[in-house]
Symmetry: D3
C-alpha cells in the first residue's frame, strides 16, 4: 500500500473515532446516514459511489474524493469509466477541477497498484 | 407542457442561440464538448446524465438541474432512482441543497405530467 | 403577513411534504436531524439559529436564509444583533453576500411588520 | 431603459440605503472599501471592473454580475471583449456558469439598447 | 505548543506582515475591518467568533477555521459547545465538511493541550 | 528556482501527461480550450491571465492561482498591479480569500527571486 493511501486511511480513521467519541448526537447521525446513502437501492451501490465521487470532485474536496475513489475501486469501476466521471466533473465544474483531477488520478493509480 | 418547463426551454434556447451567434470560439467549443461529455461511452448516457445532475445539485445551479432532469427523464430514470440521486446530493452538499431539491422535484413532477 | 413571507412558507411546506411522501429514507432522516440540530443543548437554540443563518448567508442560499430569519425572529434576535450577523457574513463571504443581505433585510423587515 | 435594468437599479438602491441606514459600522465600511477597490490605480478602473465581473460570474452572483456589467458598459468595454470575459468565466468555472452567462448577455444587450 | 499550532501562527504572521507592507490600501482596510467585525457589540465577541467559525467551516477554509478556533479557545468556548458548532456546519454544509471537521478537532485538541 | 515553484511544476507536468495519456477525448479537449482561452484576442493575453487569476483566487484553488501567477509573471504584471488583483479577489470573495492571498504572495515573491 502506498504512503498516500495509508496516511489517508490512518488519519481518517483516527479522527473519525474522536468525532464519534465526542458524543454529539447530530454528528453521529450524520455519519450514520452517510453510510446508508450509498447502499444498494433503486440505484446500485456502484452508481451511487460514482455519484458521490462526482459530487465530491465538483465541490473540490480531496479527502472526500479519495474516500469515494476507494469505494469505486472496491466496486470494480474500470479506469475508462473513472476517466469519464472525471470528464463530467471537469466540464460541469470547470478547470478549477483539474488540480483535483491530478490528485485523484494519482490516488487511483496507487489503488490499482496496491 | 407546464409553464415552468416551457419558460425554461424557450429562454434557454433563445439565449444559447445568441451566445453562439456572438462568434466567440471558446464559448462555441465549450458548448460542443458539453454535448459530447454525456454521450454513451464506457459509461452509459443515462449514468452520465445522473452524474451531471448530482454535480449540478451540489453546485446548486437550478437551471443546470432542470436541464439534466429533462435528460434523465428522456433516458427513463425512475422516480425512486431520482429520489436516491437527490439523497446523495443532500447528504454530500448538506441542507443548503434542500431548497434546490424542492424545485427539482416540482420540475420532475411537471415532466412526468407532460 | 406579506406576500413574500406567505409565498415562501406555502411553497416550502407543499414541497417538503412531497419530498417526505416520496418515502426515501435518507431524505427523511436528513429532515429529522436538521430539526434536532437547532434544539437547545450546550448552545442555546437562539445561538444555533444564528449559526445556521450565517452559514446560509455565506453559502448564499436565499431560502435557507429566510428560514433561519424566521427562527431568529421567533427567538427574539434583535435588529442590531441581526445586523452584526449580516456583518460577519459579509466580511467572511465578501461583497457577493451583499445582494443576499439586501433580500435578507427585506424579509426581516417583513417579519417585523407581520 | 428596460424593466430588467430598472428593477435591478431601484431595488438595489432602495435596499442599500436601508442597510446603510441601519448604522452598522462594519457594513458601512465594507460598502466604502468596495467603492475604493475599483478606482484607477496601478490597474485602470476598466480592468478592475472586468476583474470584478469575472469574479462575480464564477461565484455565480447574478446581481453582482449586473452591477459590474453596468460599470463595464460605462467604461466602454466592447462586446467582443465582454464575450472573452464570459469565455474565461466559463472555462474556469465550468458549464454551471452557462445559465448565468445567458442572463448576463441578456442584461448586456439591454444596456446596449438603453 | 504543538508544531501544528506553531507552524500556522508563524506562517500566518509572516505573510500578513508582507501583505500589509505592500502598501495596498484596500488590503489594509480589509484587515482593519476584519478585526473590528468580531469586537463586542450587540452580540458578544464570543458569539461572533462562533459565527466566524461556522462560516469558515461551511466555506471549507482550514486556515480560517484554525484562526477562529484560536479565538473561540481564548473566549472560553467549551468542547461540547464546539461540537455543536461542528454539527451545525456539517448539517448545513454536508459531508464535504467532515474532512475539515477532522482537522478542526485535531487543532482544537492541540489548543486544549497547549 | 525555489522548491515551491519546482515541486508545483514537476507534479503538474507529470500528472497532466498521465491525464492526456488516458485518452479521454473530453479531458483532452478541455485542456485544449483552456490553452486557447488565454490567447491574445479582443483582450490581451495579459488581461486574460489577470482574469484567470482573480477567478482562481475567489474560487480558492491554490494550484490554479500558482499557474496564473506564473503566466502573469511572464507577461510582466507588476507587483502593485498584482496587489490590486489580490484586493479585488479579497473584497469580492471575502476574508476566506486571505489565506490563499498569503500563499499567492509567497509564490509571487519566489517568482520574482527566480
Amino acid at each position: 500500500m502506498s504512503d498516500l493511501i495509508n496516511d489517508f486511511r490512518v488519519y481518517r480513521e483516527k479522527m473519525n473515532k474522536k468525532i464519534l467519541a465526542s458524543d454529539n448526537k447530530v454528528m453521529k447521525r450524520i455519519y450514520n446516514i452517510d453510510t446508508n446513502t450509498y447502499m444498494d437501492g433503486a440505484l446500485s451501490s456502484k452508481t451511487k459511489e460514482m455519484l458521490g465521487l462526482v459530487a465530491s470532485m465538483v465541490l473540490r474536496c480531496d479527502d472526500c474524493v479519495k474516500y469515494h475513489l476507494e469505494q469505486c475501486y472496491e466496486l470494480k469501476v474500470s479506469t475508462p469509466e473513472m476517466m469519464e466521471i472525471f470528464a463530467v466533473a471537469n466540464i460541469v465544474g470547470g478547470t478549477i477541477v483539474i488540480p483535483h483531477t491530478r490528485r485523484a488520478l494519482e490516488y487511483w493509480e496507487d489503488l490499482e497498484k496496491s
